[in-house]
């Protein structure tokens, strides 16, 4: 029997390692010699971590246990591993099962299924077959044509056709060509690439090798965020094993094609998601973008032809060659083909990684798979595309998830972050949050981006402080247009999107802040006040917690907050067991 504990970063954060150790201990204590303890990457159902799969001797999945904290291990071992009876009440429910069954997994095909630290398991799933076929039996043009037929577009945000970039690099003369992977997943709220790196690193290596063959590149570089230490470790293990097996290195599969990969740890700069900035960073410089053309395909890393795709794009490639470009093109819509992985988070019941065919309506993703809004509150908006994207309001929840349809709303598909917001999320504050981010991350090269984002942030801060002025909305719109026009790279050109989309769909909230001194979502501190309602039992808990002594009242009688003294810290609201403190 085999016990597999999901150990991606998020699994480990919920205690998967402790659960794994406990299994080791109990199994050893009971001398169960036929039980193997193993690990896998993240299967994507983050809200159910830690997840434990028990496989029988034939490799069949006998049970999937969820939320397995160490104290539950003993019971599972006792009843299932020893007694042979799965513990029904700890197993994944049918409803939760739907979270997985409603998806279509291409990129995440192996995540959570295999041990990412053992190449044999990847090979057993058909891994490295595609690259072997490509290198030994196809020409460069044939490879590029398959990618063209598949309709694969860059999954990092811009959605540029992948075959076109490959072909451009192939056609560019150069003594050395490079294949770069952008694994600097900088969008706050996105973790698709981390999951692939941690759960199925070989699919990335295989995809890069195929791309290297198609374009004539012999060197690959993976630019990974330093915030992903586990991803770096697992990649290093995977590279080592691939070299041992002859899947990376000189003269692959007995041909004269050689390809190897190295890792470069990023140092934390969002702007390095932009191709030319990433190249500057690879060369050890400040990560500042430069004008295009020349495009990296002609002059990139060390002035040589360079192709840059992100993790998810490369991870699609082995699947395309194993199943054919047509099979990939059969998924999705006319313009947006294949699947897309989304990181579903925020005020959602079931957060996690979701891979769906392009064209599925947002509603299906949020309600059908994600189970709807936490605490059954009202769905207000979903933020897509991170700081370069925008907020799509509830009224557009039937929008199909394709590059074109999402662009029409003012947001972008982006790298796949999907942050769900409910009635308590203030949209002006959201815009402020993203501008705060882009202001900090602007590299400072273009005036409009450097100063424009700062001025926009100042206005938004003023509005959320309750000091908004008549004309602020119009000023924001004007600045937004200027920053978009005046910035050279994608960061600046898209930085105003969160502001523009929130003004477009939630103008009333801006107006509420400015003209009525009211935060519609009751979230901006300066614009709310706390009041005790008649639900109050007079227990005095809030009065004891209040740091400024603003609450008074007799025991067992309704208490009162003195608004002149109150500093709006919210401690009373937290401490009340009767929901008697309300935000006004």
């Amino acid at each position: 029997m085999k016990v597999v504990i999901g150990q991606g970063s998020c699994g480990i954060a919920t205690g998967a390692k402790k659960t794994s150790n406990e299994f080791e201990r109990v199994v050893k204590e009971k001398c169960l010699e036929n039980v193997v303890i193993d690990k896998a990457g993240c299967i994507g159902t983050c809200y159910l971590e830690p997840i434990v799969d028990v496989y029988g001797d034939e490799g069949e999945l006998q049970a999937r246990y969820v939320k397995v904290q160490p104290d539950k291990v003993e019971e599972i071992v006792e009843k299932h591993l020893v007694g042979g009876e799965p513990v029904q009440e700890m197993m994944i429910s049918e409803v939760d099962e739907k979270f997985l069954s409603a998806q279509q997994r291409v990129v995440l095909r192996n995540c959570g299924q295999i041990n990412p630290e053992r190449i044999e398991e990847y090979i057993a799933k058909g891994g490295y077959e595609a690259v072997k076929k490509v290198v030994t039996s196809m020409t460069q043009d044939e490879v590029i044509n398959v990618v063209k037929v598949s309709g694969l577009r860059g999954r990092g945000g811009a959605g540029f056709p992948t075959w076109f970039k490959w072909n451009a690099e192939k056609s560019s003369p150069g003594t050395e060509k490079y294949m770069v992977c952008n694994a600097d997943e900088g969008d706050p709220g996105a973790f698709m690439d981390r999951s692939v790196l941690e759960g199925d690193p070989h699919s990335l290596l295989e995809g890069m090798t195929i791309a290297g063959y198609a374009t004539g590149a012999n060197q690959g570089v993976i630019y990974v965020r330093a915030e992903y230490p586990l991803a770096i470790t697992r990649l290093e293990i995977a590279m080592e094993q691939a070299r041992e097996k002859g899947f990376l290195g000189k003269n692959l599969f007995g041909t004269n094609f050689s390809f190897d990969v190295r890792i470069k740890a990023g140092a934390g700069a969002f702007v390095c998601g932009e191709e030319t900035a990433l190249i500057a960073s690879l060369e050890g410089e400040r990560g500042m973008p430069r004008l295009k053309p020349p495009f990296p395909a002609a002059k990139g890393y060390w002035q040589m032809p360079t192709n840059i795709n992100n993790v998810e794009t490369y991870a699609n490639v082995p699947w395309i060659f194993a199943n054919g470009g047509e099979a990939f093109a059969a998924m999705g819509t006319q313009q947006s083909k294949g699947t897309k992985v989304f990181a579903l988070a925020g005020k959602i019941k079931k957060g996690g990684l979701v891979e769906v065919p392009m064209g599925l309506p947002l509603k299906e993703v949020i309600y059908g798979i994600g189970g709807g809004i936490k605490n059954d509150k009202e769905f207000k908006a979903v933020q897509m595309g991170g700081p370069s994207g925008g907020c799509i309001p509830g009224s557009l929840i039937d929008t199909p998830v394709t590059y074109e349809d999402i662009n029409k709303t003012g947001a972008i598909v982006g790298s796949g972050g999907m942050i769900v917001m409910d009635e308590n999320t203030c949209m002006v504050d959201m815009a402020r949050y993203f501008l705060d981010f882009t202001k900090k991350e602007s590299c400072g090269k273009c005036n409009y981006c450097r100063i424009g984002t700062k001025r926009m942030l100042e206005i938004l801060e003023r509005i959320t402080r309750g000091e908004g002025k008549d004309g602020d909305i119009e000023l924001l719109e004007e600045l937004a247009a200027k920053v978009k026009d005046g910035a050279m790279c994608g960061l600046g050109q898209t930085a105003p999107n969160p502001v523009l989309t929130t003004i477009r769909y939630f103008r009333n909230e801006y107006e509420d802040h400015i003209y009525n001194h009211k935060c519609t979502a009751k979230s901006c501190k300066a614009l709310i006040s706390f009041k005790i309602t008649d639900k109050c039992k007079g227990c005095g808990a809030c009065a004891r917690k209040c740091p400024v002594g603003a609450i008074s009242g007799e025991k067992k009688k309704m208490h009162e907050i003195d608004p002149a003294v109150c500093i709006k810290c919210g401690k009373c609201e937290e401490s009340c067991k009767f929901d008697a403190v309300e935000r006004m």
């Binding site: 706050p188 915030e227 230490p229 934390g268 960073s281 050890g284 990181a343 925020g346 957060g351």
Partner: protein, 173 residues
């Protein structure tokens, strides 16, 4: 990632003290484009980049100190000040923001008496707000980094975060 914090704030490192950095420079000093790698390894060894370290790297690589300083200040990862034994990386990503990361920051600041970027007087904790740790489904999240590795904590509340910090502090007693 291993990091060793010497805790030394005198800033008076002489060249003799860079023995651990010497092999790194031997390997990378002449490899073009290695500056960021060198700085990362220097920070891993000393916990931060002192001006002396920057000058030493400059002498060995031939890159001007001003340029090294420029690169070091461009990237969020590099620190020019020493840090505490436990580095708290508090996630301020979108999912964490929506789920109350500001509240968690408030609780940490209040509990330790420091602000973002500061270190407690006893040299134990440094607070760093970071953009995203990629554990969005467990928001709000923080990671605590020590010389032995790192631990991630999810679904934080004001109370749980205080308890986690107290547990770390108790280890020291």
């Amino acid at each position: 990632m291993k990091s060793k914090n010497t805790g030394c704030q005198c800033g008076g490192n002489s060249e003799a003290n860079f023995t651990e950095l010497a092999p790194v420079l031997e390997k990378y000093a002449q490899v073009p484009g290695s500056l960021i790698t060198i700085l990362q390894q220097a920070q891993d060894i000393y916990g931060y980049l002192s001006m002396d370290a920057i000058n030493y790297i400059s002498a060995k690589t031939g890159i001007k100190p001003a340029k090294i300083y420029g690169v070091a200040t461009f990237y969020a990862q590099f620190r020019l000040q020493p840090i505490g034994k436990y580095l708290i990386m508090l996630c301020k990503g979108t999912a964490c923001h929506v789920n109350g990361a500001d509240m968690i920051e408030e609780a940490v600041c209040e509990h330790l008496g420091i602000k973002d970027g500061e270190t407690t007087e006893d040299g134990l904790f440094t607070l760093n707000n970071v953009a995203c740790l990629g554990c969005c489904s467990l928001a709000p999240v923080m990671m605590i980094k020590t010389a032995d590795g790192e631990e991630t904590f999810g679904n934080l509340t004001k109370d749980s975060v205080k308890k986690i910090l107290d547990d770390y502090r108790a280890k020291e007693a």
